[in-house]
């Protein structure tokens, strides 16, 4: 039922790939390997080089240095039509004058698939994306979510080893997006051999879908790891703030922990010399209100009610600390002195650095 890749499953390898436009480096010596059958999310703000990396795999930009490999095939010098990839972009890019079935059949015809086979493959791809009932429609007669399903069916009909998804859900509204997210996860379970490179600026999509996340920032790869690793133990301030949101507190390393605003917080210093500056990362939802371990106090600067939770912004020694707590029956008033605390194992010490983006 599910289309199997014709050859052995292939991964993607970036080998020092550098892309520059008019002398501006937009992708700086990217080294990254997507294992066969893996979903890799390229996560980063706009202008971070993530889409450029995807376009280098598709063959729409030519690296000035480095190689791109699909499986053990070096495709750096191949034109797009010889790379054998499937691609889905944000704006669907369906062919407006073709019916849905002709859109899906386009790649098969381009690859000179026998006519007798095309019909079955089109039906198969449309069934896979739940669009079998719309084969005779034109793209303009479909909703955004349906159009994106057709675009995915079109990309899958050619049975690519590698599927490139460039912000595929960004044009959909929030409700459709979460539905399509589940749909993509199901598709990947049905096509376990297809490697997927998923470009997004949305950390929820990346956390939900990806086996691993590569965090991009200003043309460079910042960090790469499983969602859990990046969330629980980020290695730098940028990753910490971009994946999940975080308090990034400037601290001074002491023998017994890290000192923040006059309070020594018990945290593993991991061999950092006492006296050095560092950044302490604590997720807002792991910060509690009231007394507890690692207690810090400050004045409440802002309070947001978010339904199930309250978010508190507390000024502690000139730094703002965020805490997400369960909805409070009697929330403190602005300007009140409040105490916050968090468990030592929820805090991660990072090299000093200012987060941005």
């Amino acid at each position: 039922m599910a289309p199997a890749a014709p050859a052995a499953p292939a991964g993607i390898r970036f080998d020092g790939v550098t892309v520059a436009y008019h002398g501006t480096v937009v992708l700086d010596a990217l080294d990254l390997t997507v294992e066969p059958g893996e979903v890799m999310a390229l996560l980063g703000p706009s202008g971070s080089g993530k889409t450029t990396a995807l376009r280098a795999v598709a063959g729409f930009v030519r690296p000035v240095a480095g190689r791109v490999l699909l499986g053990d095939r070096d495709v750096t010098d191949l034109p797009p039509h010889r790379r054998g990839i499937g691609m889905v972009v944000q704006q669907y890019a369906l062919f407006p004058h073709m019916r849905v079935e002709d859109n899906v059949a386009f790649g098969l015809k381009a690859r000179r698939t026998p006519k007798s086979e095309i019909r079955a493959r089109v039906t198969e791809a449309l069934e896979l994306t739940g669009m079998a009932g719309y084969a005779r429609r034109h793209p303009r007669e479909l909703s955004g979510g349906q159009q994106q399903r057709v675009a995915i069916a079109r990309a899958l009909a050619v049975r690519p080893e590698v599927l490139l998804l460039d912000e595929p859900l960004s044009a959909l509204d929030a409700q459709l997006r979460s539905g399509m997210l589940a749909e993509l996860a199901r598709l990947h379970r049905e096509l376990p051999d297809v490697s997927i490179l998923y470009v997004t600026h949305d950390q929820v999509e990346a956390l939900t879908l990806a086996d691993r996340i590569a965090v991009m920032d200003r043309a460079r790869l910042r960090a790469c790891g499983t969602p859990r690793e990046l969330y629980r133990a980020p290695t730098d301030a940028f990753t910490a703030s971009f994946v999940g949101g975080a308090n990034l507190l400037p601290v001074t390393v002491r023998a017994s922990g890290a000192e923040f605003a006059g309070t020594v917080i018990e945290v593993g210093t991991d061999g950092v010399a006492p006296g050095a500056s560092a950044t302490l990362c604590v997720r807002p939802h792991l910060v509690g209100l009231g007394d507890g371990p690692n207690r810090i106090t400050g004045t409440l600067a802002e309070l947001q009610w978010r339904g199930a939770t309250h978010r508190l912004y507390v000024d502690v020694g000139g730094h703002r600390v965020m805490a997400d707590v369960r909805e409070l029956r009697q929330p403190p008033a602005l300007g009140d002195e409040v105490a916050l605390h968090f468990a030592s194992e929820d805090a991660v010490l990072l090299p000093a650095g200012v987060a941005h983006g």
Binding site: P79, G86, V89, F106, R111
Partner: protein, 289 residues
């Protein structure tokens, strides 16, 4: 409608409170637009429609006087008219076909092949449209003419010379709408087609051409009408054997002083043009141009 009528009467009477006074100043308003429209319509009628009517009337008045269909019978039966009609039609159709092919290829290159100066070339197309047609023919004379670069073979005085000159001059008229249509094509579609395994010819045939068809139809029908009526190019090439309908009008009226005959040919020419213009309007409206 029933509601509107009494209101108008109230306004005319000037008895409506509030805004009534303001409206009463503009009571003769319905006549004003007509007043404004009268001079241009009169002018148009005097300088354009009246002479045209004279042409039509003349075409029914043989030299012997009176009203007669004789000029039509004479002209339509004459061999020179038949030949001119055939020459006009095949030249116009061939020139249009040439313009479509050449214009499509050139517009493709300008729109989709990234080369330095592509925008300048695209802008030059606009400027080119403002050139007079005989200028191109004149320029061609320097290359293909009797004393031209290519030598003494008299290429320009053949129908092929006229065809070449018309294609050279009218191709930009096809490129203009095409470039507009091409700029509307989503490059993501072309990239999607490429990633699906399509090479350039297939992308042009299956993605670009269907999107460009309305623009091709609009540009093509415009060029067809212009070619049917082209006079300057045919005159300037000096092709004696090439007589098109406009040339025939010129010959009958100026050289033979056969005014009724000239008017008959002119009326036929106008009818063909108007018919094709109607077609052009239908096509271009469907193209959204």
């Amino acid at each position: 409608m029933a509601e509107v009528a009494p209101q108008v009467r109230v306004v005319r009477g000037g008895s409506r409170p509030g805004g009534g006074s303001r409206r009463s100043h503009t009571a003769p308003r319905p006549y004003k637009p007509l007043l404004w429209a009268l001079p241009p319509i009169a002018l148009l009628g005097l300088v354009f429609l009246y002479p045209l009517a004279l042409v039509v009337r003349q075409s029914f008045q043989p030299d012997t006087g009176g009203f007669s269909l004789q000029p039509y019978a004479d002209v339509l039966a004459s061999e020179s008219f038949g030949r001119a009609l055939w020459t006009t039609v095949w030249l116009a159709v061939a020139a249009t076909a040439g313009c479509l092919v050449l214009g499509f290829l050139l517009a493709l290159v300008i729109a989709f092949v990234p080369f330095p100066g592509a925008r300048t070339v695209a802008r030059f197309v606009d400027v080119y449209l403002s050139f007079p047609s005989f200028l191109i023919t004149l320029a061609l004379l320097f290359i293909y003419g009797g004393t031209g670069i290519v030598g003494s073979f008299r290429f320009l005085t053949t129908p092929w010379g006229v065809l070449l000159a018309e294609i050279t001059y009218f191709t930009p008229f096809v490129m203009r709408p095409l470039l507009a249509a091409f700029s509307g094509i989503d490059t993501a579609q072309i990239e999607a087609a490429g990633s699906l395994g399509a090479r350039a010819p297939r992308i042009v045939r299956r993605i670009i051409l269907p999107e460009a068809l309305p623009a091709l139809a609009a540009g093509g029908s415009l060029v067809l009408v212009l070619c049917l009526n082209e006079f300057g190019i045919v005159l300037f090439t000096g092709a004696k054997g090439v007589t098109t309908l406009p040339m025939l009008v010129y010959g009958k009226a100026i050289l033979e002083s056969d005014y009724p005959g000239a008017c008959v040919v002119a009326v036929v020419n106008v009818l063909i043009s108007v018919g094709l213009y109607g077609l052009y309007r239908v096509v271009s409206r469907r193209a959204g141009a």
